[in-house]
Symmetry: D2
Subunit: 151 residues, 4 copies
């Protein structure tokens, strides 16, 4: 495993500000074993990043994509599925900023069960893209400062 | 990034036997930017693992799950999204065995475009589980030997 | 088109009690045309039915499936996609009971935009199933009475 | 139920030309009851329509969307889920043209099990749209004639 995952632990130990929300495990998220089908966790991650942009950073995906021509694709992920989650459970989803580069930002994500126990831990590298020119661009202000507040 | 990804390169350089199939990028796989929505790649990975089990190892998910009470959940993934893929493209999906443990097997996956160029590279750790007792179990023979043939 | 859809209009005109919730259109719900990919509306419907069971009827899918061995599969749907919905929109989802049979319940669903305009209208027939015996069973009390309160 | 479903039976009795393909039920298609989660059937339908356009009509979604600015959204569906389908089953998917209008085409879809028995029957109304102007347009030749060959 990469050292990105260890990095998550370190940042959480340091008590950085997290963006957090609740996620309900839906019937459609679960597989024949009755637990979350793992690709669905990545949809939960993407929803979390969307909510963070809209509520935490003040720039919704709608605004970024449709008005400003900017995308925030995920270019690298490392994920550990530590314990299964079942139908109807409400998971706590937390996002922290691990690293802020010029065009990129690496976030750590943690999904936890009701007792606070780890279910999933992930590290996602996102890159700001000009959708028309299909190239990476520097994350503009004031978005950059707002992201930094989570790091 | 973890060194798992470097491990993929190494195993491919060594010319190990790969299980390969074609994957068409569907309308429903694509996002408003016209490219594959990244959680969909993990469904492609899971389909590839299913096909490998059924066609490459002679033990379908149906047989494993419904008849033998065995699951093969993914416990860790590392994935690099190297270049976007568009609606209607046919990707080459290749799976190789990186490491075979007692209850676990780590596979590397590569999705490539028509010209053979990298689109996605991933490393997945899978664990054989007794679904009833919800614990890891040693991968049984002759499945183990068949897996080893891809390593 | 079937007469089920006309039935929706009639029941709504009569002012029946609705179960309602809000649904955010996610990035992953949208297709390359930038609007909701229609199969995703059915996941929204299923989530709405889940929320109705848990919050409106006091019997969550988790309780029904895992504790009582009961499922509520959808056996028939009629849906009109009246106007497209875009990334980031918040839709109003309303569910009403159209018809309550012995083992079945037919609900009408309406998704509306911010100005209250129709986006999607649907009629879904659900049947209560004994999951072990795989046959329809009469909807038990007090679930039946609670469903009737929405009709 | 609407009379569209009866219409499907009639057209099939008359022996119209069908576009057909096979669909494997994937692990990710199945719910905790071990059967296909019904929204997934609509993804299968959309894949079938895509394959029909590309292979049956000679105009792929990619060509229509990216080169010609034309979309083919689904505006109305009626679907009966007759019998459940399980993990690993290979379903036969058939598409027939029920009705060809100016801008619209209504197709009937049937998914059948290995013994030819009905699993799902559906009727889908599709409309050709100019994606830029967001309005319905007459289905152009030679697409129209090719569609007519399936009616």
């Amino acid at each position: 495993m990469g050292d990105g995952i260890d990095g998550i632990d370190a940042s959480q130990a340091a008590g950085k500000q997290a963006f957090a929300t609740d996620v309900t495990v839906r019937f459609g998220d679960c597989d024949p074993a009755g637990i979350v089908f793992y690709p669905r966790y990545f949809e939960m991650f993407n929803n979390l990043v969307e909510d963070w942009c809209a509520q935490g950073l003040g720039a919704s995906f709608r605004e970024l994509h449709l008005e400003r021509g900017l995308g925030l694709p995920t270019v690298h992920v490392e994920t550990s599925f530590i314990a299964p989650s079942e139908l109807g459970e409400v998971l706590r989803a937390e996002l922290r900023v691990q690293k802020l580069g010029g065009a990129s930002v690496t976030v750590s994500i943690r999904l936890a069960g009701l007792a606070g126990e780890d279910r999933v831990r992930a590290s996602l590298a996102l890159v700001m893209m000009d959708l028309k020119e299909r190239r990476a661009v520097r994350i503009p202000e004031p978005l950059r400062s707002r992201i930094a507040a989570f790091a």
